[in-house]
């Protein structure tokens, strides 16, 4: 009989002890950074529902590492639906205080599980849905997803034919469902991320956290640069940090004077084939979306 190892990601994180070894993430994994911080806020009274994807592997083979919370590793398309079921089952037993967390990657969220996410939002299921987004199917070998930005190389968008269409706008999509809480965050801005985790935890109904978690092998950068890439994504306004609570009131995290999009792009091998003109076009789209966000925020504050 093997004893469960106690020094696990969740337990240590809940104890405030921070990261631990034993999990199976690649070096520099942004996803496991996000999970460690989330577990600190959400655990131990929580259930994780994790579909196919890196995190289903990262939680590790017993007894090296396992999240010290119930973990339902469900089929690729079913995170939101299974989470809805877990919520209903716990509620039926009168256990309302447990946080039910669906923790899914961008492929599981933007693509195969999209219908399930939309339906759970439509029903306003009392579930916290976290999409940890590294902008491709990293676990199966770096194939493009609906979250892959235009121009990026992946194994199914080769450099001769990089992805032609932009990343799906999950902010617009999820807020159009009028859910009680939406936020985008990244572990590279931990205070902002932790505060959003707390607000998401303490909100009832369907909450969606969109967390940008760079992936060194998939996005092609050196593993010491994970936080740098994530910070550049925010400061260049490629991945703005926003919060929409109560279906209104867009708040945009102010990261100060923008840094050039070029600096973000040139950190990553997946964009290495883009010439300066293509990078400029990428930057122009980032600018346009930023202006749209600011217009929205100002419109909300006027109302």
């Amino acid at each position: 009989m093997r004893e469960p190892r106690q020094e696990t990601v969740t337990r240590l994180a809940c104890d405030g002890s921070g990261p631990t070894g034993g999990h199976l993430a690649c070096r520099g994994c942004g996803g496991v950074l996000a999970m460690q911080m989330a577990a600190r806020v959400l655990g131990p009274n929580c259930v994780f529902v994790i579909p196919a994807g890196c995190m289903a592997v990262i939680d590790g083979p017993f007894p090296l590492s396992s999240l010290q919370a119930p973990l339902l590793h469900i089929a690729f398309e079913a995170a939101a639906s299974a989470a809805a079921g877990v919520r209903a089952g716990l509620d039926a037993r009168g256990k309302h205080d447990t946080t039910v967390v669906a923790w899914a990657g961008d492929g599981a969220t933007f693509d195969i599980g999209f219908g399930a996410v939309s339906a759970a939002a439509d029903r306003n299921d009392n579930v916290l849905y976290v999409c940890y987004d590294n902008e491709a199917y990293m676990n199966t070998g770096i194939q493009q997803s609906g979250a892959t930005p235009a121009g990026a190389w992946t194994t199914t968008t080769p450099r001769a034919n990089p992805k032609p269409t932009p990343k799906k706008d999950m902010l617009a999509i999820m807020t159009a469902h009028r859910i009680p809480y939406f936020a985008s965050a990244t572990p590279a801005f931990p205070d902002d991320y932790l505060a959003k985790l707390e607000r998401a935890r303490d909100t009832r109904g369907f909450r969606f956290l969109h967390v940008f978690t760079p992936c060194p092998p998939g996005q092609r950068f050196e593993e010491q640069n994970t936080v740098r890439v994530a910070r550049k994504a925010v400061t260049s306004r490629v991945f703005p940090l926003v919060e929409v609570a109560g279906g209104k009131a867009l708040t945009v995290f102010d990261a100060g004077e923008p840094t050039p999009v070029r600096e973000y792009v040139r950190l990553q091998g997946r964009f290495s084939h883009l010439d300066d003109g293509e990078v400029e076009r990428f930057a122009a789209e980032v600018d346009a979306r930023w202006r749209w966000l600011i217009d929205w925020a100002e419109r909300e504050s006027d109302e």
Partner: protein, 380 residues
């Protein structure tokens, strides 16, 4: 193999499938990432755009199968590739493909299951799923090559059979074959045949999409080829529109079966190894048959008269060939990398009249030749 190694490619089986599909005239691929089949999609994303074909990664497996059927009806030669859980998701649309008679090829690179199972490990546990996975009555053509050269040729044959009989054809390989690199010599274009679906030769405005007055396989017109026609997963008559005429539906479902069972001379394919004077017979397919061949060779060296029948076409199951092979055998051995699926067909084929020893294994580690040899020694 060529004499001096010239022209030999050292490819993983998944790459062989992609290269062979293009050689067969495939000009459309729709897929979704899944281990251990993803390399087929990677390679198609490189190959198809070069030759004017179209590659698309879909939002999920349902979408991939739907796109393949749509492309087929629009006139393309379409391929998709997946593995266990993805195959499960494709099944409804696969049944649609049978119902509307859309030629296409579906590759299942088998891994352990059920559910997520063993994503990076092989198995042969989707054999029955290939036959009976989708709901309803329908015939199945499924091919299960065992060597890379054979994968190349059987991929071409899968497209040809799909075109000839207007139906989806399943190619079953597994993680071992998909990821194992082995020498393969892609044949010159004039060394193999490419079959195209029979085109309607009548007047376009009189086109009936399911006209079977001249034979069991209705001549085809892609959309926007002079005629407008209706396609539905409902039971339909020769016009393509729905019908609830019980007599017609029964006749039509029998026609579907006849397309396959009436053309077994074209569809069936089995290979034999040291079978001529065998007293003990082994029936095994795919990667496991390679272990069986090694075991046969070793047993022969010990003087045991044992031989192998290897179905290459696994569906329809080669029951007559297995009967002929098995009826005079002292013992039959059925090694398969699952908990027992093909053995049911072998039992039926020999009229439950021969003793059969099963060799089964699951868990991701393939059956070793020594395990099959032990079974041979046990019954010898």
């Amino acid at each position: 193999m060529s004499e001096n190694g010239h022209g030999v490619k050292f490819w993983p089986g998944n790459i062989v499938v992609a290269e062979a599909a293009v050689a067969a005239g495939c000009n459309f691929f729709a897929g979704y990432p899944i281990t251990p089949s993803s390399e087929i999609a990677h390679q198609m994303s490189l190959l198809l755009p070069r030759g004017g074909g179209h590659f698309v990664q879909m939002e999920d497996e349902l979408g991939a199968m739907g796109a393949v059927i749509g492309a087929s009806l629009a006139g393309a030669k379409a391929l998709t590739a997946t593995s266990g859980p993805g195959m499960s998701l494709k099944l409804e649309n696969l049944g649609f493909g049978y119902m509307v008679e859309a030629p296409c090829v579906v590759v299942n690179v088998m891994r352990g299951g059920p559910s997520t199972g063993l994503p990076t490990h092989p198995s042969q546990s989707d054999l029955m799923q290939a036959r009976w996975g989708t709901h309803g009555d329908h015939p199945t053509i499924a091919l299960a090559p065992a060597f890379h050269q054979e994968i190349f040729l059987e991929t071409i044959r899968a497209f040809n059979l799909a075109e000839q009989f207007r139906m989806p054809v399943i190619l079953l390989i597994d993680e071992v074959l998909g990821h194992l690199s082995e020498g393969v010599v892609p044949p010159e274009r004039d060394a193999y045949e490419i079959v195209e679906r029979a085109h309607d030769s009548g007047e376009p405005d009189k086109f009936l999409p399911y006209d079977v007055t001249a034979g069991d396989i209705p001549p085809f017109r892609p959309y926007f080829d002079g005629a407008t026609w209706h396609t539905t997963g409902l039971n339909h008559d020769e016009t393509g529109f729905p019908t609830t005429d019980a007599k017609h539906i029964q006749q039509d479902m029998y026609r579907h079966y006849r397309k396959v069972l009436g053309n077994r001379d074209v569809i069936d394919k089995v290979e034999y190894y040291m079978a001529d004077d065998a007293e003990i017979g082994i029936v095994s397919f795919g990667s496991t048959a390679r272990a069986a061949m090694a075991a046969v060779k070793q047993a022969r060296e010990q003087g045991v008269k044992v031989g192998l029948l290897r179905p290459v076409t696994v569906w329809p199951f080669p029951k007559d060939q297995v009967y002929e092979f098995g009826r005079d055998k002292k013992y039959l051995i059925v090694p398969e990398f699952n908990l027992g699926q093909m053995v049911y067909e072998v039992e039926r084929a020999v009229h439950f009249d021969r003793p059969i020893k099963r060799v089964n294994k699951v868990g991701g580690v393939p059956i070793y030749p020594s395990e099959i040899l032990a079974a041979i020694e046990e019954v010898a």
